[in-house]
Protein backbone atom coordinates (compact mmCIF):
# COMPACT_ATOMS: atom_id res chain seq x y z
CA UNK A 1 0.00 0.00 0.00
CA UNK A 2 2.63 2.48 1.03
CA UNK A 3 4.69 3.67 -1.92
CA UNK A 4 8.38 2.99 -1.67
CA UNK A 5 10.88 5.84 -1.69
CA UNK A 6 11.64 4.96 -5.27
CA UNK A 7 8.01 5.50 -6.23
CA UNK A 8 7.70 8.72 -4.23
CA UNK A 9 10.75 10.26 -5.82
CA UNK A 10 9.82 8.84 -9.18
CA UNK A 11 6.39 10.41 -9.06
CA UNK A 12 7.76 13.88 -8.50
CA UNK A 13 10.42 13.39 -11.14
CA UNK A 14 7.86 12.10 -13.60
CA UNK A 15 5.44 15.00 -13.35
CA UNK A 16 6.93 17.12 -16.17
CA UNK A 17 7.08 14.07 -18.43
CA UNK A 18 3.56 13.01 -17.58
CA UNK A 19 2.34 16.51 -18.31
CA UNK A 20 4.17 16.56 -21.61
CA UNK A 21 2.65 13.21 -22.52
CA UNK A 22 -0.82 14.36 -21.51
CA UNK A 23 -0.46 17.63 -23.41
CA UNK A 24 0.80 15.79 -26.46
CA UNK A 25 -2.24 13.54 -26.31
CA UNK A 26 -4.91 16.13 -25.76
CA UNK A 27 -3.38 19.56 -26.10
CA UNK A 28 -2.45 22.06 -23.43
CA UNK A 29 -5.64 21.91 -21.47
CA UNK A 30 -7.31 21.44 -18.15
CA UNK A 31 -7.90 17.87 -19.20
CA UNK A 32 -4.16 17.27 -19.54
CA UNK A 33 -3.53 18.38 -15.99
CA UNK A 34 -6.53 16.43 -14.73
CA UNK A 35 -5.07 13.32 -16.33
CA UNK A 36 -1.77 13.93 -14.56
CA UNK A 37 -3.55 14.43 -11.27
CA UNK A 38 -5.54 11.23 -11.73
CA UNK A 39 -2.38 9.39 -12.68
CA UNK A 40 -0.50 10.51 -9.59
CA UNK A 41 -3.41 9.62 -7.36
CA UNK A 42 -3.90 6.22 -8.96
CA UNK A 43 -0.19 5.48 -8.90
CA UNK A 44 -0.09 6.25 -5.22
CA UNK A 45 -3.07 4.00 -4.52
CA UNK A 46 -1.74 1.17 -6.66
CA UNK A 47 1.87 1.53 -5.59
CA UNK A 48 1.96 -2.05 -4.42
CA UNK A 49 1.38 -3.24 -7.97
CA UNK A 50 4.61 -1.58 -9.05
CA UNK A 51 7.75 -3.67 -8.71
CA UNK A 52 10.75 -1.69 -7.53
CA UNK A 53 13.50 -1.64 -10.07
CA UNK A 54 11.25 -2.01 -13.09
CA UNK A 55 10.43 0.81 -15.45
CA UNK A 56 8.58 3.30 -13.28
CA UNK A 57 8.12 5.84 -16.06
CA UNK A 58 6.53 3.23 -18.32
CA UNK A 59 4.27 2.17 -15.47
CA UNK A 60 3.15 5.76 -14.92
CA UNK A 61 2.67 6.41 -18.63
CA UNK A 62 0.51 3.30 -18.78
CA UNK A 63 -1.71 4.63 -16.02
CA UNK A 64 -2.01 8.01 -17.69
CA UNK A 65 -2.73 6.43 -21.02
CA UNK A 66 -5.49 4.29 -19.52
CA UNK A 67 -6.95 7.35 -17.82
CA UNK A 68 -6.96 9.13 -21.16
CA UNK A 69 -8.84 6.33 -22.88
CA UNK A 70 -11.31 5.87 -20.09
CA UNK A 71 -11.97 9.61 -20.30
CA UNK A 72 -12.52 9.32 -24.05
CA UNK A 73 -14.89 6.41 -23.62
CA UNK A 74 -16.84 8.20 -20.95
CA UNK A 75 -17.08 11.32 -23.01
CA UNK A 76 -18.14 9.48 -26.13
CA UNK A 77 -20.96 7.95 -24.20
CA UNK A 78 -22.00 11.32 -22.85
CA UNK A 79 -21.78 13.47 -25.93
CA UNK A 80 -21.39 11.69 -29.21
CA UNK A 81 -20.22 14.77 -31.08
CA UNK A 82 -17.68 16.26 -28.70
CA UNK A 83 -14.75 14.48 -30.29
CA UNK A 84 -15.56 15.87 -33.67
CA UNK A 85 -16.09 19.34 -32.30
CA UNK A 86 -12.78 19.31 -30.46
CA UNK A 87 -10.89 17.91 -33.40
CA UNK A 88 -12.33 20.66 -35.55
CA UNK A 89 -11.12 23.21 -33.02
CA UNK A 90 -7.62 21.79 -32.99
CA UNK A 91 -7.39 21.62 -36.73
CA UNK A 92 -7.84 25.26 -37.46
CA UNK A 93 -6.25 25.80 -40.85
CA UNK A 94 -5.86 22.56 -42.75
CA UNK A 95 -5.08 24.38 -45.96
CA UNK A 96 -1.86 25.96 -44.74
CA UNK A 97 0.38 23.03 -44.05
CA UNK A 98 3.20 23.80 -46.48
CA UNK A 99 5.87 24.56 -43.93
CA UNK A 100 4.98 23.46 -40.48
CA UNK A 101 6.24 25.39 -37.51
CA UNK A 102 5.90 23.83 -34.12
CA UNK A 103 2.41 25.14 -33.53
CA UNK A 104 1.31 23.75 -36.85
CA UNK A 105 3.01 20.49 -36.10
CA UNK A 106 0.97 20.27 -32.93
CA UNK A 107 -2.12 20.79 -35.03
CA UNK A 108 -1.03 18.11 -37.45
CA UNK A 109 -0.37 15.75 -34.58
CA UNK A 110 -3.90 16.33 -33.35
CA UNK A 111 -5.30 15.09 -36.65
CA UNK A 112 -3.80 11.62 -36.18
CA UNK A 113 -5.96 8.80 -34.89
CA UNK A 114 -5.33 8.34 -31.17
CA UNK A 115 -3.51 5.03 -31.50
CA UNK A 116 -1.06 6.47 -34.00
CA UNK A 117 -0.60 9.65 -32.02
CA UNK A 118 0.23 7.90 -28.79
CA UNK A 119 2.61 5.52 -30.56
CA UNK A 120 4.59 8.28 -32.16
CA UNK A 121 4.66 10.32 -28.96
CA UNK A 122 5.84 7.40 -26.84
CA UNK A 123 8.64 6.41 -29.20
CA UNK A 124 9.50 9.64 -30.98
CA UNK A 125 9.07 12.11 -28.15
CA UNK A 126 9.26 10.26 -24.84
CA UNK A 127 12.05 7.98 -25.95
CA UNK A 128 10.50 4.62 -25.13
CA UNK A 129 11.60 1.56 -27.02
CA UNK A 130 9.17 -0.26 -29.31
CA UNK A 131 8.85 -2.95 -26.66
CA UNK A 132 8.11 -0.45 -23.91
CA UNK A 133 5.59 1.34 -26.09
CA UNK A 134 3.92 -1.97 -26.92
CA UNK A 135 3.72 -2.70 -23.23
CA UNK A 136 2.22 0.68 -22.44
CA UNK A 137 -0.32 0.47 -25.25
CA UNK A 138 -1.08 -3.18 -24.63
CA UNK A 139 -0.38 -4.27 -28.18
CA UNK A 140 2.23 -6.18 -30.18
CA UNK A 141 5.55 -4.65 -31.17
CA UNK A 142 4.58 -5.08 -34.81
CA UNK A 143 1.47 -3.03 -34.18
CA UNK A 144 3.59 -0.26 -32.67
CA UNK A 145 5.76 -0.22 -35.76
CA UNK A 146 2.87 -0.09 -38.16
CA UNK A 147 1.24 2.71 -36.18
CA UNK A 148 4.53 4.62 -36.23
CA UNK A 149 4.84 4.10 -39.91
CA UNK A 150 1.33 5.31 -40.65
CA UNK A 151 1.77 8.27 -38.31
CA UNK A 152 4.99 9.26 -40.03
CA UNK A 153 3.41 8.98 -43.44
CA UNK A 154 0.50 11.13 -42.40
CA UNK A 155 2.62 13.77 -40.67
CA UNK A 156 5.04 13.88 -43.57
CA UNK A 157 2.15 14.42 -45.95
CA UNK A 158 0.98 17.28 -43.81
CA UNK A 159 4.45 18.77 -43.62
CA UNK A 160 5.03 18.45 -47.36
CA UNK A 161 1.54 19.53 -48.23
CA UNK A 162 2.78 21.23 -51.38
CA UNK A 163 4.83 18.45 -52.95
CA UNK A 164 3.87 17.42 -56.48
CA UNK A 165 1.10 14.89 -56.56
CA UNK A 166 -0.45 15.88 -53.28
CA UNK A 167 -1.41 19.44 -54.10
CA UNK A 168 -4.49 20.41 -52.21
CA UNK A 169 -4.84 16.98 -50.71
CA UNK A 170 -4.77 18.36 -47.22
Amino acid sequence: MTPSDEVRKGLVTAIPHLRAFAMSLCGRSALADDLVQETLTKAWAKADSYQDGTNLMAWLFTILRNEFYSHLRKRKREVEDVDGAEAAQLVSAPGQMASLELGDFRTALATLPEDQREAIILVGASGFSYEEAADIMGCAVGTVKSRLSRARTRLTELMDGDVPGSTGSV
Binding site: T13, R19, S24, L109, G124, S126, T156
Partner: protein, 87 residues
Protein backbone atom coordinates in the same frame (compact mmCIF):
# COMPACT_ATOMS: atom_id res chain seq x y z
CA UNK B 1 13.83 18.92 -13.62
CA UNK B 2 17.39 17.80 -14.10
CA UNK B 3 18.60 15.48 -16.79
CA UNK B 4 19.68 12.84 -14.30
CA UNK B 5 16.42 12.09 -12.68
CA UNK B 6 16.61 8.37 -12.83
CA UNK B 7 17.34 5.32 -14.84
CA UNK B 8 13.83 5.05 -16.16
CA UNK B 9 13.51 8.53 -17.47
CA UNK B 10 12.29 8.67 -21.01
CA UNK B 11 13.71 11.15 -23.46
CA UNK B 12 17.17 9.70 -23.10
CA UNK B 13 17.98 10.56 -26.65
CA UNK B 14 17.31 14.24 -26.05
CA UNK B 15 20.29 16.35 -26.85
CA UNK B 16 21.55 14.35 -29.78
CA UNK B 17 18.57 14.59 -32.02
CA UNK B 18 20.63 14.35 -35.17
CA UNK B 19 22.06 10.90 -34.63
CA UNK B 20 19.25 9.17 -32.83
CA UNK B 21 16.21 9.67 -35.00
CA UNK B 22 14.03 6.62 -34.91
CA UNK B 23 14.35 4.75 -38.22
CA UNK B 24 10.60 4.46 -38.66
CA UNK B 25 9.74 7.98 -37.58
CA UNK B 26 12.58 9.68 -39.38
CA UNK B 27 14.47 12.86 -38.69
CA UNK B 28 11.97 15.44 -39.89
CA UNK B 29 9.06 14.23 -37.82
CA UNK B 30 11.23 13.04 -34.95
CA UNK B 31 12.94 16.35 -34.32
CA UNK B 32 9.61 18.17 -34.26
CA UNK B 33 8.16 15.64 -31.86
CA UNK B 34 11.09 16.10 -29.52
CA UNK B 35 10.91 19.88 -29.72
CA UNK B 36 7.24 19.80 -28.90
CA UNK B 37 7.71 17.36 -26.05
CA UNK B 38 10.64 19.36 -24.67
CA UNK B 39 8.57 22.51 -24.80
CA UNK B 40 5.81 20.84 -22.79
CA UNK B 41 8.04 19.08 -20.31
CA UNK B 42 10.14 22.16 -19.58
CA UNK B 43 7.12 24.10 -18.38
CA UNK B 44 6.95 24.84 -14.70
CA UNK B 45 5.08 22.21 -12.74
CA UNK B 46 1.94 23.74 -11.23
CA UNK B 47 1.89 23.73 -7.44
CA UNK B 48 -1.24 21.59 -7.46
CA UNK B 49 0.81 18.49 -8.23
CA UNK B 50 3.36 18.93 -5.50
CA UNK B 51 0.52 19.80 -3.15
CA UNK B 52 -1.18 16.61 -4.23
CA UNK B 53 1.87 14.51 -3.38
CA UNK B 54 2.05 16.18 -0.01
CA UNK B 55 -1.61 15.46 0.62
CA UNK B 56 -1.27 11.85 -0.42
CA UNK B 57 1.56 11.48 2.06
CA UNK B 58 -0.48 13.08 4.79
CA UNK B 59 -3.65 11.12 4.13
CA UNK B 60 -1.62 7.97 4.17
CA UNK B 61 -0.29 8.79 7.60
CA UNK B 62 -3.71 9.83 8.84
CA UNK B 63 -5.71 6.79 7.84
CA UNK B 64 -4.56 3.62 6.23
CA UNK B 65 -7.46 2.25 4.29
CA UNK B 66 -6.98 -1.17 2.83
CA UNK B 67 -9.01 -0.89 -0.32
CA UNK B 68 -7.45 0.43 -3.52
CA UNK B 69 -10.53 2.05 -5.00
CA UNK B 70 -11.64 3.55 -1.73
CA UNK B 71 -8.27 5.10 -1.05
CA UNK B 72 -8.11 6.46 -4.59
CA UNK B 73 -11.35 8.26 -4.03
CA UNK B 74 -10.55 9.51 -0.59
CA UNK B 75 -7.15 10.74 -1.64
CA UNK B 76 -8.53 12.36 -4.73
CA UNK B 77 -11.35 14.42 -3.31
CA UNK B 78 -9.42 16.50 -0.77
CA UNK B 79 -6.70 17.09 -3.34
CA UNK B 80 -9.08 18.50 -5.85
CA UNK B 81 -10.86 20.54 -3.23
CA UNK B 82 -7.74 22.25 -2.02
CA UNK B 83 -6.60 22.89 -5.56
CA UNK B 84 -8.96 25.75 -5.98
CA UNK B 85 -9.81 26.73 -2.43
CA UNK B 86 -6.76 27.05 -0.29
CA UNK B 87 -7.42 26.72 3.43
Amino acid sequence: MSDNDGPDEPGKHDGNDESSADPIIGQAVGSRLKSLFDEFSSENVPDRFLDLIGQLEESEKADKTGDDTTSTKSADSPAQGSDKADP
